[in-house]
Structures are given as C-alpha cells and as structure tokens.
C-alpha cells in the first residue's frame, strides 16, 4: 500500500499573504493548500523510496505532459542526487508523452498517447509513469492497458496527487505524494485552461477566477 501525505477535506489552507504568490494571481486564489517547499520535501522522500525499491533495474521514465513536468523535473533532480551519492542507483532513460483523453457518445473512455518514442521499445523494460494527478483513475487504467500491450517487464506509476472523490474507480498508483480533497486545485504545473502553471504552490482556485479564466 502506497503511503501518502493526507490533506484533509476541511483543510482551509494558508492565507495567501503568508506566502510569496505572483502578483497577477493574488485575486484569483483562495488559499495556499500545499506550499512548494512541502511538495519538494515530499518528492525528496518519494525519490528515496523509488531508488530503494528499483535498485539496479534500468527504468524508462515516462513523463506525462503538461501537468506532470514539474513533478517529474524535481523528482529526477532528487533521484540524480541519490544516484550520484549512494551505493544504490537507478539507471534512467527519459521520455515524454501527452495524453488526449476524450469520451465519445457511448461514454467509453478513450486515451490517445501522443509523442514519445515507439511504445514497442518498452518491451522487456521497466517503465515508470510520472503524472501530476489521478482523479477518476480511468485515464491511468487506460494508459496502463496500452502500455501492457507492449509487454514491458513491469510498469510502475508515481502520482504527485490523488484526489479523494466518489468518482474514483478505485485505482491507486504505486507511489503517491499527497491525497487531496475534491476541490479545484491549481499551481505547480496544474492548470486551469493553461493558466496557473507558473504558480509554484498548489492553491485553491476562487470561484471568481473560474469565471475569469473560463474559455
């Protein structure tokens, strides 16, 4: 069972004025729910757990863009530091994919993988997927099914966030940073219509901003 840092449903977060937030977002956010520093500290621990568990195996790291890029970059930095400084290390190669998920009229879940090298190259290798957030879990389940078709040796998943929601399929990643409430979260690469990716803390979006940045 993956351990995780639980952010409770009734957690109001921290006052914006107590943290450094870009001026252009000051009116759009309700509070800071996970400060950037806490994300980094938790990520540092995940890196240690991953290196400990994977010790030796060559892994193909698959970063799911765009939301996953910051988590991926920071996690890689910590893994590299561990690789350089300890007895155990994990040889890594890296690839980037984008997922376009859409449900058609029959409401079946379709996920298309865009970019990245040929998935067939994963055959016989350990592949590690890095993603920003798991909500219903259906996107991940579909991706995993696709990856498994390529006969990898093993597939592991690390997600920075897992949402507590009744809509969840029950799927849990192998490594989890935080378990969060079913609220509208932005920041640290989590976007709202492409906005807020340049915010380093994870914050709760205000209702006003939902309208403001609506497409």
């Amino acid at each position: 069972m993956a351990s995780y840092l639980e952010i409770l449903d009734d957690d109001q977060g921290h006052e914006l004025s107590l943290f450094c937030v870009p001026k252009h977002y000051e009116e759009d956010l309700d509070s800071v729910i996970i400060p950037n520093g806490l994300i980094k500290d938790r990520t540092e621990r995940l890196a240690r757990d991953i290196v400990r568990d994977m010790g030796g195996h060559h892994i193909v790291a698959l970063c799911v863009l765009k939301g996953g890029y910051k988590f991926f970059a920071d996690l890689m930095d910590y893994i590299k530091a561990l690789n350089q400084n300890s007895d155990k290390s994990v040889p890594l190669t890296v690839d980037f994919i984008r997922l376009k998920s859409y449900s058609n009229d029959q409401s079946t879940n379709c996920v298309k993988v865009i970019g990245g090298d040929e998935l067939s190259a994963l055959s016989g290798k350990v592949s590690f997927v890095f993603i920003d957030i798991v909500e219903t879990g259906r996107t991940m389940e579909t991706l995993l099914a696709l990856l498994n078709e390529c006969n990898p040796k093993m597939v592991k998943v690390a997600s920075l966030l897992v949402k507590r929601t009744p809509r969840s399929s029950g799927y849990r990643p192998d490594y989890i940073g935080f378990e969060v409430p079913d609220k509208f979260l932005v920041g640290y690469a989590l976007d709202y219509n492409e906005y807020f990716r340049d915010l380093s803390h994870i914050c709760i979006l205000s209702d006003r901003a939902k309208e403001k940045y609506r497409v």
């Binding site: 351990s3 995780y4 840092l5 921290h14 006052e15 914006l16 004025s17 107590l18 943290f19 450094c20 309700d30 509070s31 400060p35 950037n36 520093g37 806490l38 994300i39 980094k40 500290d41 938790r42 540092e44 621990r45 240690r48 803390h201 205000s206």
Partner: protein, 225 residues
C-alpha cells in the same frame, strides 16, 4: 473567503500551527538515519520554512531594506534562519535593483538547560555594537517563547542608538507567560512543545536535521546531559 483589507496591514502575523496538531508522519519525509526513533513527527518541513522565509524577506525588504541593513544573528539556534533569511533578502533585492547592503553580526545567548528555559541570560559577542548607530537593525532569532531574550536584546541594542530596530522570529511559542508583544516578523506560531531541527538543538543534537520536529521521549533520554 475574506479579502485582504487595503491599508490595514497583515491580518495574520504568521502561519499558525494549531494546538492539538500532531505533525506529519516522519516516514513521509527524508531525514538522517541516525535520528530514527528520536523524533515523534515533523512539525514544519524544511521546504515550508523556506517558503515562509521568502515571504518574510519580501516584507523586510519592503519595510526596512534601504541603504544598509544591520542583521544581528542570535547564535547558535538562529544561524540557519539567519543565513537563509539574508540569502533570500539579497536575492530579492538583486532582482529589484535596489542598492541594499546587508551586514551580519553574531551574538550568543546561553539560557537553556536540557529543555527548560533558565533564569540567567548571558549576551556574548561583540562588546562594541557602535556600528549599529543610525542604521536599520534586524534582530534574527530562531524561537521566541517567554520573550525575555527578545526584551534583553532590544534593551541592549537600543543603547547603541540605531535608527530603527525590528525583530524577526522564525517560531513563536504559545506559552502562558508569553511576550506582551510579538516580533515584527513571525514565521510560525507553534504550540508549547519542545522542537528540534533547522539549527534548533537539544543539548547540541538535532542541529543537523533539516525539518523542525517534535523530539520523542526516547530522544530526550538518549541525549540528556
């Protein structure tokens, strides 16, 4: 949700850590192996300390970050807070093209035995603090509980006729005989528990721990003098 009131200053002094909150599970974080069993939980992760410091630095820069800033660091517990705070002040001042010079002086205070605050207060450090005259002074302390240290320091510093004196305290403890006034810049308001880490020690141990943590009973016995 409340909105900040224009012109009324900060509503909340610091990040408040509630009385009953046990802290985060240690196993969710990275920490030195040699302290396994000696810590109960993580009260404030290192990253959150750094984020809060960035914000304090921003406020300090805005209010007293002009010309020369004399920083008075209270050793030993204050050294990390001071180093990180001054780094952040300098980094932010560089990016705003301000012409700020920061200078750091160090003073030592002896007032703790094991985990109790004792009566005596010795100020050890440069006898001559005349370089403070006419300047903005920022006293940097790791932790404020009774406020005795803060008061003694302020009195000591005033003798050298600085232009203005402000106090930055990373942690303010909620204690029964607490200080009448809070420091000007407060990082976190915490419960009245003995904390270690981020340069705060227990008989010289735990200074090499990044996060601010609650020491366990095992730890207290193990490192008791």
């Amino acid at each position: 949700m409340t909105h900040s009131l224009v012109g009324s200053g900060r509503k909340e002094q610091g990040v408040v850590i509630e009385e009953g909150w046990p802290g985060y599970d240690l196993e969710l974080f990275n920490y030195p192996e040699h302290y396994r069993g000696d810590i109960d939980s993580v009260l404030i992760p290192h990253g959150v300390i750094m984020n809060r410091i960035e914000c304090l630095a921003r406020d300090i820069l805005e209010e007293i970050g002009h010309h020369t800033l004399m920083v008075l660091c209270v050793l030993k517990g204050g050294y990390k807070f001071c180093a990180d705070l001054v780094d952040s002040i300098k980094a932010q001042s560089h990016s705003t093209n301000s012409k700020l010079t920061t200078r750091v002086e160090f003073i030592r205070l002896k007032s703790y035995l094991n985990d109790h605050s004792t009566e005596d207060l010795h100020i050890i450090g440069p006898e001559d603090l005349s370089m403070l005259k006419g300047k903005n002074v920022l006293i940097v302390e790791a932790i404020v509980d009774t406020g005795k240290t803060m008061k003694a320091l302020l009195q000591h510093v005033e003798m050298f006729q600085p232009k203005a004196v402000k106090v930055a305290g990373l942690l303010v403890k909620r204690v029964p005989n607490g200080p009448g006034t809070l420091p000007d810049y407060v990082g976190f308001v915490i419960p009245n528990r003995f904390v270690v880490g981020y340069a705060l020690d227990y008989n010289e141990y735990f200074r090499d721990l990044n996060h601010i943590c609650v020491i366990s009973e095992t730890g207290k016995l193990k490192y008791k003098v």
